[in-house]
């Protein structure tokens, strides 16, 4: 044991791990940040699970229009525990989206996006978009009949964007229409480009969480004033703050572990999503539909009037994104208690 401690001491002296990690672990957080604050870390745990299961799946999956479907069949039916692993990747994605939603709802309800945490919120909105894009591109990588026709549907929506539409259409298809490069383009997005963006933005998000501190639960009659907030927050931490580890982080560790366990259990019980028929565009008896988190939007498209349809397809999602992204720019001070403020 002493030898191990000495070895650690030698390594730590050279790498300076303790000097970086210790202050992070011991930094003070508000004492009342309890169970409502565990959803952000649960989302991060789900993301980490997506990374490791995705890396494992990529050792077999071949992103080729000829082979992708067959390799997925192999993963699901023949590879040792491949069925379970694919299920974990699927339920991990669902959980990540679900907990991201709950986390954002908590931040919104407690108005934690107000000063000085505007950047936390805005980076979170970018992560929301990245997560949805990851979910959709992941569905396309199944490369079954559903995926092939889903690309058609996505392209037709992108094509309605004014001016940029035809370019987006060709970029999504990687050509004039579905072809050999379409799948590899989506694979590139799903495995390299979007994860790289997510790693960078998650890094920024976590840095801001530490730099600005975890928001204290809102108290009615205690509005945020950018001129005095930081002094008040520092005073609160000085008086009542508790160290992040273990006083606050134990809940994150416990809840995160439960979430991972739930994903593993769901994957074991229900398995991965069923692969539809082969990705052959000449098999016309198909009923393409997105995964559950976009199903509501897909259904609404049946109801929107002709004249408003393009507006609905483009302006509605863009409007939601812009409203969320710029929310703290316009409403960064005032009451945080949900019953004492208007919607924002």
């Amino acid at each position: 044991m002493n030898a191990l401690l000495r070895l650690w001491s030698v390594i730590d002296d050279r790498l300076g791990i303790s000097r970086i990690v210790k202050p992070l672990m011991e930094h003070k957080v508000p004492p009342d940040s309890k169970w409502a604050y565990v959803f952000g870390s649960a989302t991060l745990f789900a993301f980490m699970l997506q990374v490791v299961t995705g890396v494992a799946l990529a050792t077999i999956y071949v992103p080729s229009t000829n082979d992708a479907y067959r390799t997925l069949q192999y993963i699901s039916d023949s590879a040792l525990l491949g069925h379970w692993l694919r299920g974990m990747h699927y339920f991990g994605a669902s959980m990540m989206i679900a907990f991201l939603g709950v986390h954002m709802l908590r931040v919104f309800l407690t108005a934690s996006y107000k000063y000085p945490r505007e950047g936390n919120w805005m980076s979170g909105v970018i992560l929301l978009v990245c997560t949805l894009v990851m979910g959709f591109t992941g569905q396309l990588l199944r490369w079954d009949q559903d995926a092939v026709w889903s690309i058609n549907i996505a392209v037709r929506q992108a094509a309605r964007v004014p001016l940029l539409g035809p370019w987006l259409e060709r970029f999504a298809y990687a050509g004039d229409r579905l072809n050999g490069a379409t799948l590899t383009h989506f694979y590139d997005l799903h495995v390299f480009i979007i994860p790289a963006i997510m790693f960078a933005v998650i890094g920024l998000h976590l840095y801001l969480v530490v730099y600005n501190g975890i928001s204290e639960p809102p108290r009615a009659g205690n509005p945020v004033d950018p001129k005095t907030y930081r002094q008040k927050y520092e005073a609160l931490l000085k008086e009542k703050g508790v160290p992040f580890w273990p006083d606050a982080a134990w809940r994150d560790a416990l809840f995160g572990s439960l979430v991972i366990s739930l994903i593993i259990a769901l994957a074991a019980i229900f398995g991965p999503p069923h692969l539809e028929k082969a990705p052959d565009p000449t098999l016309l008896h198909a009923y393409p539909r997105p995964d559950w988190y976009l199903l509501w939007y897909f259904a609404i498209l049946a109801l929107s009037p002709h004249a408003l349809e393009s507006i609905f397809m483009i302006v509605f999602p863009l409007g939601i994104f812009l409203s969320l992204f710029f929310l703290p720019v316009f409403f960064n001070k005032g009451e945080r208690a949900p019953m004492r403020r208007p919607l924002w």
């Binding site: 080729s64 990687a174 490069a181």
Partner: protein, 200 residues
């Protein structure tokens, strides 16, 4: 020369070059900054040109129209609408099934055919021909088309698009070509598109 004079001279020698050295350092630093930024800009451009060209090439590469045989003339009964499949003109040899296309082909009379695109004009789901109803149905959002491809019900904004068909030496051929995803666009890399309502 007295010791006093030597001392004054030495003091002068120590002091005079300093501003010049400072200026040289300043110029040297500016030069180093310039050469660092210049070399970095050159290297970045040298990487960006082939990288962007490679990535953006699909935006400009066009797939030419091509006539594809879909069956012998005698295989098609007058009045029947059947699914035919053929390959597009994709130059990517690894495309596999992604290069396959389908159309609903109807023999109108002895020598005339109509080939409907299988893509619903609403969001591109595959439409199905129902022979008893003599209509095309889209499974996604309930789009319905008449026998001639006109919209009967649901959200589709335009009639089904059509491919040109010809009979060449008793072989029926469909011309695969890029059909506009959004009708009446006339913009962007795909160039002006014809109004599908006017087609066929």
């Amino acid at each position: 020369m007295s010791d006093e004079q030597n001392s004054i001279e030495k003091q002068n020698q120590d002091e005079t070059p300093r501003p010049v050295e400072g200026m040289v350092d300043e110029i040297r630093r500016k030069f180093l900054i310039l050469i660092s930024l210049g070399a970095g800009a050159f290297a970045t451009t040298a990487v960006t040109v082939p990288l962007l060209s490679f990535l953006l090439a699909p935006l400009f590469k066009r797939m030419p129209p091509v006539w594809r045989p879909v069956g012998k003339l005698e295989d098609f009964k007058i009045g029947d609408t059947v699914e035919v499949s053929f390959l597009d003109s994709s130059p990517l040899i690894w495309g596999g099934s992604a290069a396959k296309c389908a159309a609903w082909l109807r023999r109108d009379n002895q020598s005339s055919f109509t080939a409907f695109s299988v893509d619903c004009t609403h969001l591109g789901c595959p439409v199905r021909w129902e022979p008893q109803a003599e209509m095309f149905f889209c499974p996604c959002h309930g789009g319905v088309y008449y026998k001639n491809g006109d919209v009967a019900a649901g959200p589709p904004p335009d009639p089904l698009q059509q491919y040109p068909v010809r009979v060449n030496d008793k072989i029926v051929e469909v011309q695969w070509k890029v059909l506009p995803v959004v009708a009446d666009c006339g913009c962007g890399p795909a160039g002006p598109s014809s109004n599908p309502r006017a087609m066929g």
